[in-house]
């Protein structure tokens, strides 16, 4: 009996805007001016927020912070492709996703300043709070998407995770469920080349992350994650597919984390300055600026306005977040629907010990 090929797969890579801002007209999504500016302004907001958070941490006004810089294209491009009814299931680096989806800077600062209240997502928004255990949120998105399917809603879930997360079992269990139950879920992997100090080459022997989707029976593709147009287009296409009952998609966005893993990390231990410089040239904001300029949507004056608005917003948010005082009793209040007798007593005990 001759051997025969029973499976062959391919993985595509999508780039619309190259690193100099030159656009591939055949692939260019047709977005109106308002949306194009909204995309840009959200990338700027995210960067201004990010730099502020890092500087606050250095001044001891904010605890460990997880920077986003460099990944604004991947995060804003995907987040702005979503509809309100779509559910966002982020990991911990998705500051720009939250901001683009309408979570306030104040809310995010509350979180990074060590307040539980920072995880209270606005009631009219469909986003789960930060998930710290790597990859653990992925099956939640699949369950949410599954419920959407059962309820016949025209909506999808999108979950964010990193390259490192693709080593965790839960990520694969989630993707497998999604394939089996054909749920409207998008797996959005930001391959920023490192999991703390561990490079992607030590994470998987496979050539791409995107190809892993094939093993679960659905489509996977790579996009230039620093090309916000490519990310937007790929996410839109995956959403349309999801809405029309054609199942999940894995998107691997190739990007780079420009800052440390967290404010407690020292990236000099594991990556070179040259490497960082190389990626700096691929910055998602700069190339999109060039693109907007070509469309006469960007000039110095506009830039100044956008920067100033973001700076005002961030300063205002810091003021509000720093004025917030958490109530110690709240550590008990939200544990269960009702406070148990034990917890009531422990709460009293805590209050007494606060009095000294």
């Amino acid at each position: 009996m001759p051997k025969k090929i029973v499976f062959e797969g391919k993985t595509e890579y999508l780039q619309v805007l190259d690193e100099n801002g030159a656009v591939d007209k055949t692939l260019e999504p047709k977005l109106d001016e308002n949306l194009l500016r909204k995309i840009y302004e959200n990338m700027v907001r995210a960067r201004v927020f990010d730099r502020k958070a890092i500087s606050l941490q250095r001044q001891g006004r904010c605890y460990t912070y997880v920077p986003t810089e460099g990944q604004e294209g991947a995060q804003v491009g995907s987040a702005l492709a979503l509809q309100k009814a779509d559910f966002g299931v982020p990991s911990f680096r998705e500051n720009a996703v939250y901001l683009a989806r309408g979570v306030s800077m104040e809310q995010l600062f509350l979180y990074w300043m060590g307040n539980e209240e920072g995880s209270r997502m606005p009631a009219d928004q469909n986003n789960l709070p930060v998930a710290i255990p790597v990859g653990s949120q992925v099956p939640h998105a699949v369950g949410i998407a599954w419920a959407m399917k059962l309820k016949k809603e025209k909506a999808a879930a999108i979950t964010y995770f990193g390259d490192g997360a693709t080593s965790e079992g839960e990520v694969h269990e989630g993707m497998n469920f999604a394939g089996v139950f054909q749920v409207p879920c998008i797996f959005f992997c930001q391959n920023n080349q490192y999991a703390i100090s561990t490079p992607i080459t030590k994470q998987t022997h496979a050539q791409t992350i995107a190809q892993k989707a094939l093993a679960y029976g659905f489509e996977g593709l790579q996009v230039d994650g620093n090309d916000v147009l490519a990310v937007y287009a790929a996410t839109k296409a995956a959403l349309e597919k999801a809405y029309s009952g054609k199942g999940p998609t894995l998107i691997e966005a190739i990007t780079y984390r420009m800052q440390a893993h967290t404010t407690s990390d020292d990236p000099k231990k594991y990556r070179s300055d040259e490497e960082v410089e190389y990626w700096k040239k691929k910055d998602p904001l700069t190339r999109f600026q060039v693109y907007l300029k070509g469309k006469r949507l960007w000039d110095e004056e506009y830039e100044k306005k956008v920067q100033e608005a973001a700076t005002r917003e961030v300063e205002d948010a810091v003021r509000k977040a720093e004025a917030y005082k958490p109530n110690p009793e709240d550590m008990f209040t939200y544990l269960n629907a009702e406070l148990t007798q034990d917890l009531k007593e422990q709460m009293q005990e805590m209050k007494k010990s606060m009095e000294g």
Partner: protein, 322 residues
Amino acid sequence: MELNLVQAINQALMQEMERDASIIVMGEDVGRDGGVFRVTQGLLEKFGEQRVVDTPLAEAGIIGTAVGLAIKGMKPVAEIQFDGFTYLAFNQFISHAARMRNRSRGRFTVPLVLRAPWGGGVRALEHHSESMEAIYAHVPGLNVVIPSGPKEAKGLLISSIRMPDPVIFFEPKRLYRAFKEEVPEEPYAIPLGQARVAKEGSDVTIVTWGSLVRTSLEVADSLKEASVEVVDIRSLSPFDEKTVLESVKKTGRAVIVHEAPRTGAFGAEIAARISEKALLNLEAPVRRVTGYDVPIPLAKLEDYYLPDTSRIKKAVQEVAAF
């Protein structure tokens, strides 16, 4: 030489790896980065990539493969980056590491060590401040060790590495760089299952472990009205009942201090042993000073949760005056 906790553990790893070529250190970012707390710093340079391994980001994978490595004669000393991520590997511990010897009637054994930073007090993100030692101590077959300082840590880790069975070695992360003390240069082993009387006293016994040993000693040293004995458990499993009972029989009063939530924690086990075997020696009810039965709060409220000197002192005074 005077070493902090990070340096003492690092020295123990260095010395044991030199002694035993079957030891491999494995985990997330333990090689090039030297671990996120730098506990494994310098090991990669000294012992190479075969023995100091940056693994994929997968805790079940780390402990599952460590079980296999151990069965086949290697000595894995695995790191899980934080206490709150050991749960992903819990199945490998409870279902396999802890039972392989029993299941195979002694043919296959799992002499692995898990090291993980443990406990609160460093203003960390969620899941980075956990003290769930009781769930591990509850598993038959697992050994659970929590040192209270650099000198203890070195000797206890060396013993853990030399154990023929699985050991969970939790490192109180808030002590990592909190203080230095004299640590003997040469390798030494502190046997597991032996508690330590950290300070002698005659009126009240504080039973505790990990970072709260130091906090309890502060209370004991500053309290005028009662003479306090502090017992550092050191290993929850095997548990040294004898030292605890001897102390409580002497003082007649016991305060158990831990940062884990109260209900079902290891303090309850200690209280049960005291009530079973020293009830008639007690002059006062046993007291517990613990975390509350809630997830340890984020940074801003963390101090309201963690037992501190004032809560411990108050409990000791009340028990002494009973």
